[in-house]
């Protein structure tokens, strides 16, 4: 399985939300819905507080429980990669996959009745481009690429920087990394 990863630098992210707007524009996400979002996490004890901005979305898990539990095969891994997609023509709208996602990156219900979610912009990835969110980031804090290539930017960053993924204990093997 080719592993595509997104590596996001929380040290340079300023939480501006450009990635959210870029996604809505690129993917014509219906009114009122978003495929990605920004979280502001504050921790510590006042006045010693630290703040971290995270641009979150589907983690395109290598071991995706949304794919496992989909009864129709509509949720699937795209073309031998870890990119998780939903085929609207196969989706019954049973919502099992929404319940099955431990990240509550929960897939979004499209007004037409099928499940819609972050696709890692696979239509752009197929052409060798970065996902829309990554290419629109004004601080260049988002990176995208294959983890199978040791020389790729994402592999290099993970080798040299400290990082985390969200709740690794879910066992889902998420592929969105946060540099900390």
């Amino acid at each position: 399985m080719t592993r595509f990863a997104m590596v996001i630098d929380t040290k340079t992210c300023i939480g501006c939300g450009d990635c959210v707007v870029a996604c809505k524009t690129e993917n014509r996400v219906p009114d009122g819905l978003n495929r990605d979002w920004i979280v502001e996490a504050t921790q510590g004890k006042y006045p010693q507080l630290t703040t971290e901005f995270r641009s979150e979305r589907c983690n395109h898990c290598s071991n995706a429980t949304c794919v496992t539990l989909c009864p129709t095969g509509a949720s699937h891994h795209w073309a031998g990669t870890n990119i998780v997609l939903v085929d609207p023509d196969m989706c019954t709208g049973c919502k099992a996959c929404i319940a099955a996602c431990p990240y509550d990156a929960r897939l979004v219900m499209h007004p037409d009745g099928y499940i819609d979610k972050c696709t890692f912009c696979h239509h752009r990835v197929g052409e060798g481009l970065d996902p829309a969110c990554v290419s629109s980031c004004p601080t260049r804090c988002m990176h995208f690429g294959s983890l199978d290539e040791p020389s790729s930017e994402v592999s290099r960053l993970l080798k040299t920087r400290e990082y985390k993924v969200l709740s690794p204990e879910t066992g889902n093997e998420p592929n969105v990394y946060y540099l900390i």
Partner: protein, 332 residues
């Protein structure tokens, strides 16, 4: 301390402030599915035990309810689907790891098995209807064959009934993402609850006294088993992960404590348990209708409560709206 807030909105009403994808339709389907399982298992058990005399309703008429109840359940399930035209997609593939896919196929197999069950006692159970089948040579042959093979049909119906009953629980427990559902006890719990509701149904509608008593006895044992399974379920969660402990809080003093303990455990299990104990001792006959009604109600409440709490339980801890306590929490 840690505080996680949204800077941009996800604006998905199904997700925020908490997951809310399944409502009464799915709870009703799980309830009716369990009831169907119980109906099939009891109709078959009475046939195998040769208790036709003692329990004529369960022996000859009960089986007819299985496809009726199951169809009602499938209707409510269908109502829940958001992409209704694509419902056939359940049957264009089989996903080995998805209990829902197993369920979809089990439902398909249940129909022919339960039709055979009905046919095997059609002449004795529904003498008004059987002549319509007997009129045709082929119909006669089919009825003869089913009657001759009643035992074998019953022996097939039991495993399929049990599979259906267990599946309604496994369906939920397979969601590792929902800590409150993530317990293997749900399969047996839903099966036993389904059997118990079916026993209650027979106790409610059967006319013959010996049959009411027999099924009240069955129900008594099943309710006792259900109480034990509920206890195991709670022990299971209480010894689980942090997420499971948090999920458990919602019934331990949290927002669902009242429905769970009073409506489900009290009204749905313990009160009928006591009433049925009195009944088989020949007491409280005049209120004999109360216990089975409560058992049926409890069966539904169990599913509804589980659906509701399970969806709210999760791994992430976002604060989805402004929280006035925020500053205080940062100071502590």
């Amino acid at each position: 301390m840690k505080e996680e807030l949204f800077v941009t909105a996800r604006s998905n009403a199904l997700i925020d402030p908490s997951l809310h994808i399944w409502t009464w339709e799915v709870a009703m389907y799980l309830f009716l599915g369990g009831l169907t399982a119980g109906i099939m298992v009891f109709a078959a058990t009475i046939a195998l035990l040769k208790k036709d005399e003692e329990a004529p309703f369960a022996a000859t008429k009960l089986a007819l309810l299985a496809p009726v109840v199951l169809s009602l359940g499938m209707t409510t399930l269908f109502l829940d689907l958001e992409h209704k035209l694509y419902v056939f997609r359940f049957y264009t593939s089989f996903q080995v790891l998805s209990p829902m896919s197993w369920g979809a196929w089990i439902l398909i197999v249940i129909y022919p098995v339960s039709i055979l069950q009905i046919l095997s006692t059609l002449r004795s159970g529904y003498p008004q209807a059987s002549p319509y089948v007997d009129r045709f040579a082929i119909g006669r042959q089919v009825l003869d064959w089913c009657e001759a093979n009643r035992r074998q049909i019953a022996m097939t119906a039991i495993p399929f009934g049990i599979a259906l009953g267990i599946y309604t629980g496994i369906l939920l427990s397979a969601f590792s993402a929902r800590p409150f559902w993530n317990s293997g006890v749900l399969g047996p719990l839903f099966l036993v609850s389904g059997l118990s509701t079916a026993a209650a149904l027979v106790a409610l509608v059967a006319r013959k006294h010996s049959e009411k008593v027999l099924f009240t006895r069955f129900d008594l044992g099943l309710i006792a088993a259900e109480v034990a399974l509920v206890a195991l379920f709670i022990i299971n969660l209480a010894s689980g992960t942090e997420q499971q402990l948090t999920a458990l809080d919602s019934i331990m003093g949290g927002p669902y404590a009242l429905v769970f303990w009073v409506l489900f455990v009290g009204v749905g299990l313990l009160i009928p348990l006591v009433l049925e104990l009195l009944e088989i001792r020949g007491l409280a006959r005049r209120v004999a209708i109360v216990a089975p009604v409560l058992v049926l109600l409890g069966g539904y409440v169990l599913r509804q409560v589980l659906i509701d709490i399970g969806q709210e339980s999760n791994w992430t801890k976002y604060d989805t709206q402004y929280n006035a306590e925020l500053l205080q929490r940062l100071r502590d």
